[in-house]
Amino acid sequence: MTGEAIVAAYVFVLAIFVGFEVVSKVPSTLHTPLMSGANAIHGIVIVGAMLVASAIGGTLGTILGFLAVVLGTANVVGGFVVTDRMLAMFKQRPARKRE
C-alpha cells in the first residue's frame, strides 16, 4: 500500500468512530433533521465533481461533468435548506429537557 493510501485508510477508520460517537447521541425527536442534515453533508461530493469536471475533455465528458456538478449542488443546497426549515420549527420550543 502506498503512503497516501494508508493515510486515507486511517482517516476513514477514525471517521467511522467519530461518526458513530457523535450520531448515537442524537435523540429520536431529531432523527429526521439528522438524516436530512447528513444528507446535505454528503453533498461534499460537489468538490469531487468540480475537480473531475474540469479535468475531463470531450463533449460527453463535459456534459457528464456538468451533470455531476448540478446533482452535487442540488444535494448541498436542497439538503441544507430543507434541514434549516425543519429545525426552525424546533427552535422556539421550551428548552426543558426530556428524559
Binding site: 439528522l34 447528513a38 453533508i41 454528503h42 475537480l51 461533468g65 456538468f66 455531476a68 452535487g72 434549516d84
Partner: protein, 474 residues
C-alpha cells in the same frame, strides 16, 4: 506560499464544521446553529476548490452547474410541504449518489485515457460507481413510491430473488474482470465498455432492490440509501485522494447505518428481512383468515358528537398519530383539539412509534410544525406503561403500529414488532378513512375490540368536527 497550499487547510476546517454540525443536532436548541455551521463549512470547501490548479479551465462549466443545481435545490427545498419531506430527502439523496457515480465514471475515463488503471484506485472507483448508482436508482424508486407515482405496495414477482441475485452476480463478475485487468496490467478488455455495463447493472440493481419493498418499510430504506450515498462519497474520496470527501462521506455512512439499525430494531426485524423478506405481501392464508374475522365480528362506528363527549369526560388522553394524519395535514387541527382539552384540565400526551410516518422521526417534525411542544411527545418505551391509565387513546391515521396481532398472533407478518399498547386504554377512538388495511396490507384486530369506536372520515375534517362539538358543549 501560494493560495493553493491553503486548500487542504480549508478542507480541514470544513471537516471540523461537519463534525460540529452533527454534534449540534444532539439537542433541539443547538441544532439550527449546527446545521448552519456545516453549511458554512461546505461553502468554504467549495470556494477553496475554485483555487485548485486543476479547476482553472472548468470554471464556466462549474459555475453553470452550480447555478442550475442551486436553483433547483433551493426551489425544491423551499416549496416542499412538511408531509412530503421523506420523498424530498430521498430525491436529494439520489442526487448525491448520482453525482458520486458520475465522478467515478469520469475518473475512470481519465485513467483509461492515460492508460493507468491501477488496482487500488480502480477498486475504490468501482465501489464509488456501484454504490452511487444503486443509491441513485434506489432513491428514485423510493421517491416514486412515496410520491405515489408508482405503487407504494411491495412489488413482487415469482422469480424476483433470482432476478435480483442475477443482476448482483453479473455486476460482481464484470467488476472482477475489470479489477483483474487492472491488477495484471492487461487492459485488453475495452475498459470503458465494461464500466458502462457495470453502471447499467448497478442502476438496475437499485431498482430491483427497492421495488419489492412496501411503503411501511420506507424509513429503513431511506436511512439505508443515505448510508450508501455517504459510503459512495467516501470511496470517491479514496479515488481522488481527497480526505475531506472521505471524512464527510464516512460520517454520513455511520449516521445512516445507526438510523437503519434503530429502524430495523423498532420493527423487530433484521435488515435482511426488510430487504428480502416477504413483508407486505402478507401470506394469503393468514390474510384470508383475518378478513373472515372482520366479517364475522362487528365494528362500532361513532360520530363526532360521541367522540367529543368521550373526550370531555376523560382525564388522560393519549394521541397516537400516524401517517394518515400527515397525509390529511391534520397536525394543526390535532393541536387545536389538544389545546381545547388541556383548557379543560385534561392531560394530553402524544405517543410516537419509532417508525410512525415515512422516515425516522417524521412525526416529530410534523407535530413540531404545528407548534406541539416537544416535551409532550413520548417514545414508545416511555408511553406504553401509561396506556392502561389513559381514559381515551385517540388513534389518528395510525394502523400497523397499533395492531395487537404483533403481540398475540404468531401467524401475522408483523408478529414480534414492538407496538404501542393502545388496546390497554379504557376507550379507544380510531379516526380512519375506511376499513382499508395499512401499508403492511394486513387487518388490524384493534378495530374489533369492544372498547374501540371507529370515527370514519378524513383525519383533518373529523378532528375539526370534534373540536366544533367540544366548543358547542363548552
Amino acid at each position: 506560499m501560494t493560495i493553493e497550499t491553503l486548500i487542504p487547510v480549508a478542507y480541514l476546517i470544513a471537516a471540523i464544521t461537519f463534525i460540529l454540525g452533527l454534534k449540534g443536532l444532539s439537542s433541539p436548541t443547538t441544532a439550527v446553529q449546527g446545521n448552519r455551521i456545516a453549511a458554512g463549512g461546505m461553502l468554504i470547501a467549495v470556494i477553496a476548490t475554485f483555487f485548485a490548479a486543476d479547476v482553472k479551465g472548468g470554471v464556466p462549466i462549474i459555475l453553470a452547474g452550480i447555478a442550475v443545481g442551486g436553483v433547483a435545490g433551493f426551489a425544491g427545498a423551499r416549496m416542499v410541504k412538511m408531509t412530503a419531506m421523506p420523498q424530498m430527502v430521498a430525491l436529494f439523496n439520489g442526487a448525491g449518489g448520482g453525482a458520486a457515480a458520475l465522478v467515478a465514471i469520469l475518473e475512470f475515463a481519465r485513467n483509461v485515457d492515460a492508460g493507468s488503471l491501477e488496482f487500488g484506485p480502480t477498486l475504490a472507483t468501482l465501489l464509488a460507481l456501484i454504490i452511487g448508482a444503486v443509491s441513485f436508482s434506489g432513491s428514485a424508486v423510493a421517491f416514486g413510491k412515496l410520491q405515489g407515482l408508482i405503487t407504494p405496495k411491495a412489488f413482487r414477482y415469482s422469480s424476483q430473488q433470482l432476478v435480483t441475485g442475477g443482476i448482483a452476480a453479473a455486476t460482481l463478475l464484470l467488476s472482477l474482470v475489470l479489477l483483474a485487468s487492472a491488477f495484471f496490467g492487461a487492459v485488453n478488455v475495452p475498459a470503458m465498455f465494461l464500466i458502462a455495463l457495470i453502471t447499467l447493472l448497478a442502476l438496475a440493481f437499485g431498482i430491483a432492490l427497492v421495488m419489492p419493498i412496501g411503503g411501511a418499510d420506507m424509513p429503513v430504506v431511506i436511512s439505508l440509501l443515505n448510508a450508501y450515498t455517504g459510503l459512495a462519497v467516501a470511496m470517491a474520496g479514496f479515488t481522488l485522494n481527497n480526505q475531506l470527501l472521505i471524512v464527510a462521506g464516512t460520517l454520513v455512512g455511520a449516521s445512516g447505518t445507526i438510523l437503519t439499525r434503530l429502524m430495523s430494531k423498532a420493527m423487530n426485524r433484521s435488515l435482511g428481512n426488510v430487504l428480502f423478506g416477504a413483508f407486505g405481501a402478507a401470506t394469503t392464508a393468514s390474510g384470508a383468515a383475518a378478513s373472515a374475522g372482520l366479517e364475522g365480528r362487528s365494528i362500532r362506528s361513532i360520530g363526532p358528537e360521541d367522540a367529543a363527549i368521550l373526550l370531555s369526560y376523560a382525564q388522560n388522553v393519549i394521541v397516537v398519530p400516524g401517517y394518515g394524519l400527515a397525509v390529511a395535514q391534520a397536525q394543526h387541527s390535532v393541536r387545536e383539539l389538544a389545546d381545547l382539552l388541556e383548557s379543560k384540565g385534561i392531560s394530553v400526551k402524544y405517543a410516537i412509534h419509532p417508525v410512525a410516518g415515512r422516515m425516522p422521526g417524521h412525526m416529530n417534525v410534523l407535530l413540531a410544525e404545528a407548534n406541539v411542544p416537544y416535551d409532550k411527545l413520548f417514545d414508545m418505551d416511555q408511553i406504553n406503561p401509561e396506556f392502561q391509565r389513559a381514559d381515551v387513546a385517540l388513534v389518528i391515521g395510525a394502523n400497523d403500529v397499533t395492531n395487537p396481532a404483533a403481540r398475540s398472533n404468531p401467524g401475522s407478518p408483523i408478529y414480534g414488532m414492538p407496538i404501542l399498547d393502545v388496546d390497554k386504554a379504557q376507550n379507544i377512538i380510531v379516526i380512519k378513512r375506511s376499513m382499508k388495511p395499512g401499508f403492511a396490507g394486513i387487518d388490524n384486530d384493534l378495530y374489533l375490540d369492544p372498547k374501540t369506536a371507529m370515527l370514519f372520515g378524513d383525519a383533518k375534517e373529523a378532528v375539526g368536527k370534534v373540536v366544533q362539538e367540544l366548543k358547542k358543549a363548552a
